[in-house]
């Protein structure tokens, strides 16, 4: 077990190294000269050469890469090309914070609604509610975010006028409601389905019958035995669902106009701001891989029957 964890942790930097190499190669051999993008209309050969020299873009690619990675290891993510002279770390940190708050809000919505709903459905086997709700959940999961976002905006802010249409005011601001719902809706549906399946699984176990046979109240059986055990597999899924929120963030943040990391990533890709793209990709990949590792490990802790070697 510990050997496994250590091995996975040792593998992490190698993986990130590979990811960085792929991103860097795509960025460098890819199109668009960042110098041209930056100078725009003021472009002329001399200025461009001087700028290249300044930014170190005239050096061999491998040297640039080595230099970048060496800095990255020491916590220096380089300087943005688009915002001259601003360190990337300084640029992306506040945006990540914004996206993290949004993700948290979305997660609270999906877990807060999904878990009780899934549990409720599992205990209503045989009634019409259950299959209907499961079908509705699949429906909701299938709506592309480019459709839910404008749809929710139209209903919530244009038709009913409940919430402001765009902008960002932090976690405790009404403007977070629409984007959090947009990101959280597929999560609600997913959580409901998972929790329902998991609860059904637990309900069929012998220890539930034993608990009932002991004469425990239905409330006690439901809350202590069923709910808690059904929760366990869900915990491990949470790590993945955070990763899923990243994809939605690109779109939701752009539509609503939220200064988060998703929108920033998209803008940076179009402006060929390699240092920013690299940093976002590496930080994202690192978080993603760590989350997967955590999920794997938590499986083993939660279910002792699983042995990972």
């Amino acid at each position: 077990m510990w050997i496994y964890i250590v091995r996975r942790l040792l593998w992490l930097p190698i993986l990130l190294f590979a990811v960085s190499a792929v991103t860097f190669t795509l960025g460098t051999f890819g199109p668009g000269d960042p110098v041209v993008v930056q100078l725009g209309a003021r472009y002329d050969e001399e200025t461009a050469d001087r700028l290249r020299e300044q930014l170190g873009l005239n050096r061999p690619v491998l040297v640039q890469y080595g230099d970048y990675m060496w800095g990255f290891i020491r916590g220096d993510f380089g300087e943005s090309l688009r915002f001259r002279g601003r360190p990337v770390r300084e640029l992306i940190a506040p945006k990540m914070w914004v996206s993290a708050q949004l993700a948290l809000a979305a997660l609270i919505i999906s877990v807060g609604v999904g878990l009780p709903l899934g549990f409720f459905l599992a205990t209503r086997q045989g009634s019409w509610i259950d299959p209907t709700a499961v079908a509705v959940a699949l429906f909701v999961m299938s709506v592309p975010i480019m459709v839910t976002a404008p749809g929710l905006l139209w209903v919530g802010c244009l038709k009913l006028g409940w919430v402001p249409c765009s902008g960002w005011g932090g976690f405790f601001d009404t403007r977070i409601i629409v984007p959090a719902l947009i990101l959280g809706l597929p999560g609600i549906a997913g959580m409901t389905r998972l929790m329902r399946a998991s609860t059904l699984d637990v309900l069929g176990q012998d220890f539930i019958r034993t608990a009932r046979a002991k004469g425990l109240s239905e409330w006690s059986v439901s809350s202590r035995h069923v709910f808690q055990n059904a929760m366990l597999p869900i915990v491990t899924i949470l790590a993945f669902s955070v990763a899923g929120l990243i994809g939605g963030a690109f779109i939701a943040e752009t539509i609503i106009g939220i200064p988060g990391i998703g929108r920033f990533a998209v803008e940076s890709i179009f402006d060929r701001d390699y240092p920013v793209i690299m940093a976002i990709t590496l930080v994202g990949a690192g978080a993603f891989v760590l989350a997967n590792l955590l999920a794997d490990i938590s499986y083993a802790f939660i279910d002792p029957r699983i042995r990972i070697t």
Binding site: A135, F139, I269
Partner: protein, 327 residues
């Protein structure tokens, strides 16, 4: 995963089918599928939408660049069922052409990435094991480590001009002409990006299947009587994994469709003037357009929704009938 069948009582006809001599697993599963109303409805929906897209050229009432200056931003009417956009173009026509793009791209990406690359690499990896397996799976892990669709976005953004240059070079140096104008480049870029995204999941799945099947008695027996590697792979291993592959392909089509729409939404897909669902949704989805002409969203949004939903629900139903034991 939750299933629909769980709550349904087994139907009487199951007995008859179960004992049907000679009926293969697949054909029995197919007959069970046909008894599911949701599955039928989804197949019909897919056929309708896909037919609409594939035959856009004949079905659409106008050309996708035809402008009608007297009907700009008109609501749905007899002449324009889904209304017109701000350039006076018919929204329904553009939606049909947009569906066509999505259909072509997702099909190509699924066949090359998911089915061909994914299954081949999974087979090779699972059967050969050892170093080959390690290399393939590690590469897959690198691809899968990019947060969500960031890899697809980076690929699409960086590849386009390169491939465009390549196509121009081809035009200049060979007899080929008009390559760039046909939009082939766009298709190529998006396909490559989607393929890179699509093969890992399938490869892992097939590999897992092969690993567990490799140890079974019938494969041992085949080996013992001297069956060739090729025979073992394609006669003994692959057919036994087919159920899971079918479900994965179906579900994967839903995911690919979503990703393709995201790409074109970001402006990385098929370029204007060719219509794509993503660009249409982008145009219809901003707050200003929503305030004035919300119905613009209906046709492209509905098409995108139906495609993703139908693949997902169909995959769910297929999973029920093909893998009855799994949940």
């Amino acid at each position: 995963m939750a299933t629909f069948s769980k709550t349904k009582k087994p139907k009487k006809t199951d007995d008859r089918l179960g004992s049907g001599a000679g009926a293969s697993h697949l054909s029995r599963a197919f007959r069970r599928l046909l008894r599911k109303k949701i599955a039928i409805a989804m197949i019909v929906a897919l056929v309708v939408v896909y037919t609409g897209g594939i035959f856009a050229e004949w079905l659409s009432p106008y050309g996708y660049t035809d402008q009608n200056y007297s009907d700009i931003l008109e609501g749905p009417s007899v002449d324009h069922w889904a209304g017109t956009d701000r350039l006076g173009r018919d929204v329904l026509t553009r939606t049909l052409w947009g569906i066509q793009n999505t259909v072509i791209l997702t099909m190509v990406a699924m066949l090359t990435g998911g089915v061909f690359l994914g299954i081949t690499l999974g087979l090779v990896s699972g059967y050969l094991g050892g170093k080959v397996d390690a290399v393939i799976m590690r590469i897959g892990e690198v691809f899968a480590s990019f947060p969500d669709i960031l890899l697809v976005i980076i690929l699409a953004a960086t590849l386009r001009p390169r491939i465009l240059d390549g196509a121009r070079w081809l035009e200049d140096n060979t007899a080929l002409d008009g390559l760039v104008r046909t939009g082939v480049v766009d298709y190529l870029v998006v396909s490559i990006a989607l393929v890179a995204f699509g093969w890992v999941g399938m490869a892992r799945l097939v590999r897992g299947q092969i690993l567990s099947l490799r140890e079974t008695d019938h494969v041992e027996a085949a080996k013992a009587i001297g069956a060739s590697t090729k025979r073992i792979l394609f006669i003994h291993l692959l057919p036994n994994s087919i159920s899971i592959i079918v479900v994965t392909v179906t579900m994967g089509m839903g995911a690919l469709t979503g990703t393709e729409i995201v790409l074109s939404w970001l402006g990385l897909g098929i370029q204007p003037p060719r219509p794509s669902l993503g660009t249409m949704l982008l145009g219809a989805g901003n707050i200003g357009t929503l305030r004035e002409t919300p119905w613009q969203l209906l046709a492209p949004g509905g098409a995108a929704f139906v495609m993703v939903l139908a693949w997902n629900l169909l995959g769910d139903a297929l999973n029920d009938v093909l893998n009855p034991r799994t949940k």
